[in-house]
């Protein structure tokens, strides 16, 4: 790849953000650290959705279900089998990957709204399964897990997020990422250029679901509780909203999207301005505003800042990380 000025700028920004994320918890209270860990959870979840929806162009409104799979894997292994919390994360990723590949199969035949509905069904079905197999999952009463300090949660949450970000970056910058984007932009063109649609679509779903499952695991560790209500339909919708607000097809917008869906509802629910009733209204207004004014999401703001408005329209050949759709 030909180096571009934005690559250097991107690297500087990456390091600056990473340093900020690493240093912030020392200035925070225990409560805000665990809120920060929640942001890390949604960072990973939105990142996961971005791989399949933003980069490969396959719509999913079922990512809450993949989070549920990871969350239950962690909860069951630690609660019933005495596993170490961290050791459950790879297992969660594998379970999520398998589930994602299975869901990816219909994606070979369905497109657009039909695929969206299929994943929607998954989002509805998985919590029901958890209710049904209550001897394993604790049913509606759920499973309670040991508590951790805010610092532990923040450290684990963002370490996981960093690993996932690195995986996503390595995956998307090279051959695989190009194939994903080719599938997104034109399946016929991609197939005629030698991209095997079946492989790339299912792999994309698998990797995305595996990451979402890891996000679900950390979510359960942060909440130290799991039951089917935790992974309801709203969770899937929140992740999609976060991805849209942050910018589909952009790795940078993920952070903005995660902050938006995690911090805004808490601020409105517990703050002196607004109330919990206003959360849906604010969400709706922001999504409409973003769609109208910044169709590429918050990430596009960064692009504008980085390029000083000079090249921002040529997003088709801008380097990865500031990519738009």
């Amino acid at each position: 790849m030909r180096p571009k000025p934005a690559t250097l700028a991107g690297l500087v920004v990456t390091l600056a953000v990473a340093a900020a994320i690493a240093l912030i918890p020392f200035a925070l209270s225990n409560y805000h650290r665990s809120t920060g860990a929640d942001v890390a959870v949604f960072f990973v979840a939105i990142l996961a959705l971005n791989i399949v929806t933003g980069y490969t162009g396959q719509i999913s409104i079922g990512h809450g279900a993949f989070m549920a799979i990871g969350g239950y894997a962690t909860a069951i292994l630690t609660h019933d089998h005495g596993w170490n919390d961290i050791a459950t994360l790879p297992i969660a990723a594998i379970c999520g990957f398998i589930a994602g590949v299975i869901v990816g199969v219909p994606a070979l035949r369905f497109q657009g709204v039909y695929l969206a509905l299929t994943t929607f069904a998954v989002a509805l079905a998985v919590p029901q399964l958890a209710k049904n197999y209550s001897h394993l999952t604790g049913g509606t009463e759920g499973l309670a897990l040991p508590t951790h300090t805010g610092m532990w949660l923040y450290g684990v949450g963002w370490a996981v997020a960093a690993v996932m970000f690195a995986i996503a970056w390595l995956l998307l910058r090279g051959r695989t990422g190009r194939a994903f984007r080719a599938v997104r932009d034109s399946e016929i063109a991609a197939a005629s250029s030698g991209v095997t649609l079946a492989v790339y679509k299912t792999v994309s779903f698998g990797i995305s679901a595996g990451m979402a499952a890891v996000a679900g695991s950390v979510y359960v560790l942060v909440n130290n509780f799991v039951n089917p209500d935790v992974f309801g339909l709203t969770l899937s919708l929140y992740i999609l909203i976060g991805a849209v607000v942050g910018g589909l097809g952009s790795l940078w917008g993920v952070l903005a999207g995660a902050c938006f869906i995690q911090l805004l509802p808490i601020a409105l629910t517990t703050g002196s301005v607004g109330s919990s009733q206003s959360v849906p209204v604010v969400f709706g207004a922001v999504v409409i505003g973003v769609m109208a004014l910044l169709p590429l999401g918050a990430a596009n703001l960064l692009r504008v800042a980085l390029h000083f408005g000079s090249q921002w329209r040529q997003h088709s050949d801008t380097p990865l990380g500031t990519e738009g759709r």
Partner: protein, 404 residues
């Protein structure tokens, strides 16, 4: 970047160690949430979402605290009540509870509503030794698991205790009973089912059929038809409000006339009126209560006080909504516990007061007592049966005590 984050993780681990050490030294003598002039408590409630119907409860509780504050508070301290909307979703309850404890520094988590939300925060609050009290749910864990979770205590009669009363009544008063049971297929339904079977004792053989439904299923007609076909003349409905209303309507539509028992949390006058509007004949149905009957006896001192508090501090609240009365009765209990916790309450003295109740709560049904010991932690253990007649519930018979 990964390296950087790993370094951050190492730093984070070191910081945890440092924080733990400093916390050990900083064990403060002052009780969180208590100042010379105020005492701060907090809880989580569904102001929005599927259970928003219960959102009136914290407002009624806040109204009672305002009333107490207007009389000088408790031992000269005004009560500050912070409550947040968790939408009945435990994923929201956890961060909001952490905020209450760690940012708002509440003295106790009070009255938080819902079984799953409370199960989600129980471990955290007990580890932090924060009182988790008068939770608004009728499962029996709050009392039966007190050894593991000593900082948690409930309020209302537990579900098995309630259905034991139905069982005892059927055993003694309905000798020719053939019992059919409609129950939700989860812990909620099972709690009721187990209690009923215990209460029936030897009469448990009179159960002719048990039909289950999944909580997400709202149409229970086929179950009702099967119960009728099994020849039942008594039907016990252990369901959520929607399914209960459907069941009552279907029973009338298929020309069946059993004696119906309806669990307390689905027997609100509001739901009975809805069933009636949809064509159900609900006269003669039986349920149980533990609160004052402010509808039939509006002239008692408690009823007058209750209505005046709502009118002044929670205008717009419907005094006939049983949830408001529930809130005021619960808030009375919290205030009484604070009074009994000594001039300078601590979290331990507060828990001690809650586990040594011997109180007459004016908002409970006359004659009922709140009784607890460190080993017997069901605050309300008595209730009375009630029958629905001409648009209202009418308590009858004697108070069932120590139903367990």
């Amino acid at each position: 970047m990964t390296k950087r984050m790993k370094a951050a993780l190492v730093l984070a681990v070191l910081a945890v160690a440092a924080a733990a050490v400093s916390a050990a030294f900083a064990a403060s003598a002052r009780t969180p949430g208590v100042t010379a002039k105020t005492i701060t408590i907090g809880g989580t409630f569904p102001l929005t979402g599927p259970a928003a119907l219960y959102g009136v409860i914290p407002k009624a509780e806040a109204a009672y605290f305002k009333y107490v504050n207007s009389k000088g508070g408790v031992h000269g301290r005004k009560i500050i009540f912070k409550y947040y909307d968790d939408g009945y979703n435990p994923a929201n309850t956890v961060p909001l509870t952490k905020k209450l404890v760690e940012q708002d520094h509440v003295f106790a988590d009070y009255g938080s509503l819902g079984t799953a939300p409370n199960l989600a925060i129980r471990g955290y609050l007990n580890k932090a030794k924060v009182p988790h009290v008068l939770v608004a749910t009728g499962d029996s864990y709050w009392a039966t698991q007190a050894k593991v979770y000593p900082w948690t205590i409930g309020f209302q009669p537990d579900y098995p205790g309630e259905s034991r009363v139905y069982g005892q009544f059927i055993r003694n008063k309905v000798p020719q009973a053939k019992i059919g049971i409609l129950m939700q297929d989860d812990a909620y339904g099972k709690n009721y089912y187990d209690g009923l079977i215990q209460g029936l004792g030897p009469a448990a053989s009179k159960v002719v059929d048990v039909e289950k439904y999944d909580a997400t299923q709202t149409d229970v007609s086929s179950q009702i038809v099967k119960l009728k076909a099994a020849g039942a003349n008594v039907v016990a409905i252990f369901a959520l409000p929607t399914q209960t209303i459907t069941a009552l309507v279907v029973i009338t539509k298929i020309g069946w006339h059993p004696t119906a028992f309806i669990n307390n949390v689905s027997a609100s006058p509001l739901f009975m009126a809805l069933a009636q509007k949809s064509g159900a004949n609900v006269d003669g149905d039986i349920s149980a209560t533990y609160l004052q009957d402010t509808i039939n006896n509006p002239k008692t001192a408690a009823a007058i006080l209750y209505k005046s508090i709502l009118k002044k501090y929670d205008p717009g609240a419907d005094p006939n909504d049983a949830n408001n009365l529930y809130g005021v009765a619960s808030a009375w209990t919290l205030v009484k516990a604070l009074e009994d916790s000594g001039k300078t309450p601590t979290r331990s003295s507060f828990m001690s007061a809650l586990t040594h109740m011997n109180w007459k709560n004016p908002f409970l049904y006359p004659g009922l007592k709140m009784l607890t010991t460190p080993k017997e932690r069901f605050p309300i253990d008595q209730q009375i049966l009630e029958q629905y007649k001409s648009g209202a519930w009418h308590p009858f018979g004697h108070v069932f005590s120590k139903a367990r």
